[in-house]
């Protein structure tokens, strides 16, 4: 029973990675917004780069998800 509780605590701690990912995503989109606000004509060039950064950063969050799943469901 203690092991089950420890697994749940561990999985909860693993979600702390979302702290960094949240900061990073906010940084990406705030930079994207201010770049487009400074130079609206560059929007079509900047938007795919922003999406790429979003996808790459989001995958870090999903690594934390995988770690949490491994902790929860591995025997």
């Amino acid at each position: 029973m203690e092991i089950g509780a420890a697994k749940m605590i561990g999985a909860g701690i693993a979600t702390f990675a979302l702290l960094g990912v949240g900061l990073a995503l906010g940084n990406i989109f705030s930079t994207l917004i201010s770049s487009i606000a400074r130079n609206p004509s560059a929007k079509n060039d900047l938007f795919p780069i922003g999406l790429l950064g979003f996808a790459l950063t989001e995958s870090i969050a999903l690594l934390a998800f995988i770690v949490a799943m491994l902790i929860l469901f591995s025997n």
Binding site: L51, L52, F54, A55, L56, S59, L62, F65, I66, F73
Partner: protein, 247 residues
């Protein structure tokens, strides 16, 4: 109601058992949906470009826009040399894209949510890119592990790091796609279970909330499915550029 298992949807079921010399080569639901995806891609591209009108119809515009999208991507990120790899990158992109999209239809199976599938795709990318780099540069390809303009005394530190980061590309490329698909589908199932549990309880009207959220999430999942196929193709282009045009 007792057994809620959001991971049940990823279970591989054997459809036609095939055992050859102790190796399990059974035809599973994953193989079935890979065939379905390939068939969808072939039928769409075949029937949309069959007539080859000068003024394209709706479907022909769709097929041509896939073509131009990948062609422009290769031109931007790799250059003229990358055109030789156009069929590979286009088929990789379409396979991942339609695999993700077919998997979003209810009661289907998402084969990109299995790490072995995405890891095989990413390993082919890594091996293919390395072979392309060696066939172009010969032994000079090893310069990819030592960027120019760096003082020589940091080489003992930098070269192992570069080698590890080069080899871990196949892992990061595969885990990115796999984790995105798994996380999205698990999230859909969890909110669906919320709705079912609420509908069976005294709070029946509250079941509308998780249902509405599920509708929003499935829209987001379509974005993720397309975005991850795009990211897979664009990272393949970037890796190819690193190998062909040494930095």
């Amino acid at each position: 109601m007792a057994n809620i298992d959001p991971l049940y949807q990823f279970k591989i079921k054997t459809l036609v058992p095939i055992h050859l010399g102790g190796v399990d080569l059974s035809f599973t639901n994953a193989s079935l949906f890979m065939l379905v995806t390939t068939a969808v891609i072939c039928l769409l591209t075949h029937f949309s470009t069959r007539k080859r009108c000068l003024i394209p119809g709706r479907f022909q515009v769709g097929a041509e826009s896939f073509f131009h999208f990948i062609a422009d991507m290769i031109k931007d990120y790799v250059g003229a040399e990358g055109v030789r790899f156009f069929p590979y990158i286009l088929s990789l992109f379409l396979f991942v894209l339609f695999g993700n999209l077919v998997g979003l239809i209810p009661y289907t199976f998402t084969f990109t949510s299995h790490i072995i599938v995405t890891f095989a795709l990413a390993s082919f990318v890594l091996v293919g890119v390395t072979v392309a780099g060696f066939s172009k540069h010969g032994a000079g390809f090893f310069k990819v592990f030592f960027p120019s303009g760096i003082p020589l005394y940091v080489a003992p530190l930098l070269v192992p790091v570069e080698i590890i980061s080069y080899l871990s590309r196949s892992i990061s490329l595969s885990v990115r796609l796999f984790a995105n698909m798994v996380a999205g589908h698990v999230m859909l199932k969890i909110f669906a279970y919320f709705a079912v549990l609420l509908a069976g309880s005294a709070f029946l009207p509250a079941a509308i909330l998780p249902t509405a959220l599920n509708v929003a999430i499935i829209g987001f999942e379509f974005l993720v499915a397309i975005l991850q196929a795009y990211v897979f193709a664009i990272l393949t282009c970037i890796y190819l550029n690193d190998a062909l045009n040494l930095h």
